[in-house]
């Protein structure tokens, strides 16, 4: 017993010393180019299409990291000057807002590409559009033979009884409610800018509320559809396609009234690797590189001319394929920057009641 205790004491002292040693090893702060994406399959495709070939072509080393969009982290970096990320994938509203608030570097487009080579909206002050994603709705076509075709029919719980999956957040949900209520696409944001229009959207949502199951992560709708928790769901198009392909499912994608938006590469303000970062961004704006990515994942390309490299089976599944954008509504970033705070707050209060 005595021995055991002494041993224990010695062990803990040794462990303490070991910890002290490990802990004081200085971390390498001269950094390689650090690129941060959403992780998962998108980032795996980034790696194949952009990261690895870039390293091969330029010899510039890349460190990968992933995040879940916590803008707090980037704001913290800029506030404290301890910049640990260089290129970060962000969504459109965060890009615009971060740009206005000085969280991202202004891009020097002369070092990237001619803006004319990119689709509309991809060349922004602080961001280079890397992919276009659509929010559609989906159901299991093996279960529902003659499914709904519009958002208005999505609301029809008599004809298609069962729960509906929707993304938990005011953005897109309110637009969809108005579309379902018969507001034409071009007027959605006009209507939503008025108090009456917002009330109208919430009233429409009230109708469906008892049937709504809310989701947050992009993979959830497919899981819920497969598990039978919902019969139809708002979903991101690329996820539906991926599941259909990998799991041999038959989930329908309804493009009518789809909402689309863009993800951007941005450079964190104060990054020590701006030049390398710009080189990387320029590299990823090349159609031949994008083709690799969009043959893997069903998002829409941003470099004009990528379409001709896309496999003909894959092509109709992409948001930028012919016809899909004609029926689509572009998420209005400026509207959400101005009204996001109050609408999100009202949405949170509404959903929690």
């Amino acid at each position: 017993m005595k021995n055991g205790l002494l041993k224990g004491c010695l062990w803990s002292l040794t462990a303490l010393a070991a910890c002290a040693c490990i802990a004081t090893v200085p971390s390498a702060h001269a950094r390689d180019l650090t690129i941060v994406g959403w992780g998962g399959t998108t980032q795996a495709a980034h790696k194949v299409a952009y990261f690895d070939p870039f390293v091969k072509e330029t010899g510039i080393k890349i460190v990968e990291d992933s995040w879940s969009g916590e803008m707090a982290k980037i704001r913290g970096m800029v506030e404290t000057g301890d910049i640990t990320w260089d290129v970060v994938q962000v969504e459109a509203p965060e890009m615009y807002q971060g740009c206005e608030e000085g969280l991202f570097e202004q891009l020097d487009w002369s070092k990237i590409t001619d803006k004319k080579n990119l689709v509309d909206g991809a060349a922004a002050d602080c961001g280079a559009g890397i992919l276009i994603w659509s929010t559609v709705f989906s159901y299991d076509a093996d279960v529902i033979k003659n499914g709904p075709k519009t958002w208005a029919e999505f609301w029809d719980v008599k004809k298609w009884p069962g729960k509906r999956g929707m993304r938990r957040g005011a953005k897109m949900t309110l637009e969809i409610a108005l579309l379902a209520d018969g507001v034409p696409r071009k007027d959605v944001y006009k209507v939503l800018a008025t108090k009456k229009g917002v009330d109208r959207a919430f009233k429409k949502l009230d109708e469906l509320k008892p049937y709504i199951v809310w989701w947050k992560a992009g993979a959830e709708p497919q899981q819920r559809l497969a598990a039978g928790d919902v019969v139809m769901s708002m979903a991101y198009n690329a996820w539906v396609t991926r599941i259909n392909k990998e799991e041999k499912r038959n989930f329908a994608i309804i493009w009518d009234g789809n909402l689309y938006s863009m993800d951007f590469w941005t450079i964190v303000k104060g990054s020590p690797n701006v030049d390398k970062a710009l080189k990387f961004i320029a590299f990823s704006m090349r159609p031949d590189r994008q083709a690799v990515f969009f043959n893997k994942i069903a998002y829409g390309w941003t470099a004009k001319g990528t379409g001709k490299y896309i496999d003909k089976n894959m092509l109709p599944l992409l948001p930028t394929a012919e016809g899909h954008l004609d029926n689509a509504l572009l998420t209005n970033v400026e509207f959400w920057l101005d009204n996001g705070e109050s609408l999100e707050q009202r949405f949170q209060a509404w959903v929690a009641k």
């Binding site: 707090a72 704001r75 206005e100 000085g102 947050k216 598990a227 705070e341 707050q345 209060a349 929690a352």
Partner: protein, 410 residues
């Protein structure tokens, strides 16, 4: 007589010395931890919580406006000097990209300020020379609305209470008096109540389930006990995320429980067991149960069985012996267990976020929401302050009741 005095004095001295030595010992034992905590926790947390009232950055962004509005009596519209000050500040702040930050803070108090400031900032290049009053009102009529100026003046003080007020569903109205927020935005009071309610329920569930388990472990043979302990630790060492996920798999509509009940024909439709309050109770109790069982067990293991046997042999019924003799001895364990479970439950958000519905989210969820999604750290800190006051007061009341730290010597 004299000898007695001397003896008394030396005894007194000795006692005092012993007392002092004890104190030094205690300080040197607590000291290292306290030092670590002060430097690496209390200072950062203090700085963070101060953000809930700190508004000093506004004066850095709009210094001239602050000066000009200091003289304004708040009646009607301010004079030309205030408009000139706004233009002067914006000419600096817009290119420096600090204006948006100011806009966001003012927008929290009054919706519309963000777009007002940025719109004005964008058009500043073409504004020309003074006087500015008419020109600003022409850019946006809000500049001619005294309500916005009231908010501006309030928003340029070094300390602000709007975030703390909002955390309890209050706000300033246009005349600077404190009123409740409109009903469709009132949310936090009910969330605070809900947080306490869920945490208390989970604590009680943990105690009801954990006490018998701990008792059984403490009173059974070594091999049974170790088997149970291994089971408990296996659960405990499985990642929280995985445990929460596994409850979804068990409780969902096509989950194990529903499939089982459906196949037996007990139910004809799947029961809603997850993404609602039931799911939250089941999963949170499961996640927090080890925090109840282990302290209970460690206290129970130290209670010799002869106490209860003595009570029995003196004629107590088994129930009386258990509740009058055994249970009181386990109070320190109950106290430690309940405290750990309750306080942790108050701060939980990953589990309810995954297995609960929107009506089951607690204060921490909204803290995370404001930290990560809205990047409004002032509001996050304000909610943090509220949560901290809640847990702190519960701890002080509850901790005293069960005598958890009031340890006496000897």
């Amino acid at each position: 007589m004299a000898l007695q005095d001397v003896a008394d004095k030396s005894l007194h001295d000795k006692l005092r010395r012993a007392e002092r030595r004890k104190k030094i010992e205690a300080v040197s034992l607590i000291g290292p931890l306290l030092l670590l905590m002060v430097i690496f926790y209390f200072i950062p947390i203090g700085m963070m919580l101060y953000r809930s009232i700190d508004n000093s950055q506004m004066r850095e962004i709009l210094p001239e406006t602050a000066k000009a509005l200091a003289h304004w009596n708040g009646q009607g519209l301010p004079d030309e000097s205030a408009y000139a000050a706004v233009v002067a500040d914006m000419k600096v702040a817009y290119p420096a990209r600090t204006l948006a930050g100011a806009g966001r803070r003012l927008n929290f108090d009054k919706v519309g300020f963000y777009s007002l400031l940025l719109k004005t900032g964008r058009k500043l290049k073409k504004i020309g020379g003074p006087p500015y009053k008419e020109k600003l009102i022409e850019i946006d009529s809000k500049w001619g609305d005294p309500k916005y100026w009231t908010v501006m003046k309030r928003g340029l003080k070094n300390i602000t209470l709007i975030y703390l007020l909002r955390a309890v569903d209050l706000r300033y109205d246009d005349t600077n008096s404190i009123v409740g927020v409109p009903e469709e935005q009132a949310i936090y009071k009910s969330i605070i109540q809900r947080t306490v309610y869920i945490s208390l329920s989970v604590t009680i569930l943990c105690l009801l389930i954990g006490y018998p388990l701990a008792y059984f472990m403490a009173t059974s043979s070594a091999s049974v006990r170790n088997l149970l302990m291994i089971g408990l630790l296996l659960v405990f060492w499985t990642s929280l995320l995985v445990r929460t996920l596994s409850w979804i798999l068990v409780l969902q509509d096509k989950g194990v429980v529903n499939s089982f009940l459906l196949s037996l024909g007990i139910i004809s439709h799947p029961l809603p067991l997850v993404f609602n309050r039931i799911g939250v109770y089941v999963a949170m109790t499961h996640v927090l149960l080890p925090f109840m069982v282990l302290p209970l067990y460690s206290v129970m293991a130290g209670i010799p069985s002869y106490y209860v046997r003595a009570a029995r042999s003196l004629g107590a019924t088994p129930i009386a012996a258990f509740f009058k003799v055994y249970t009181p001895m386990t109070l320190p364990g109950i106290g430690a267990g309940c405290l750990m479970v309750f306080i942790q439950a108050l701060g939980y958000y990953i589990t309810p976020a995954l297995v609960g519905g929107p009506k089951d989210q607690m204060v921490s969820y909204f803290v995370a929401f404001f930290v990560n999604e809205r990047v409004n750290w002032s509001m996050a800190s304000a909610l943090g302050v509220v949560l901290l006051l809640m847990t702190g007061s519960f701890y002080l009341i509850f901790g005293k009741r069960v005598n958890i730290t009031n340890m006496k010597l000897g």
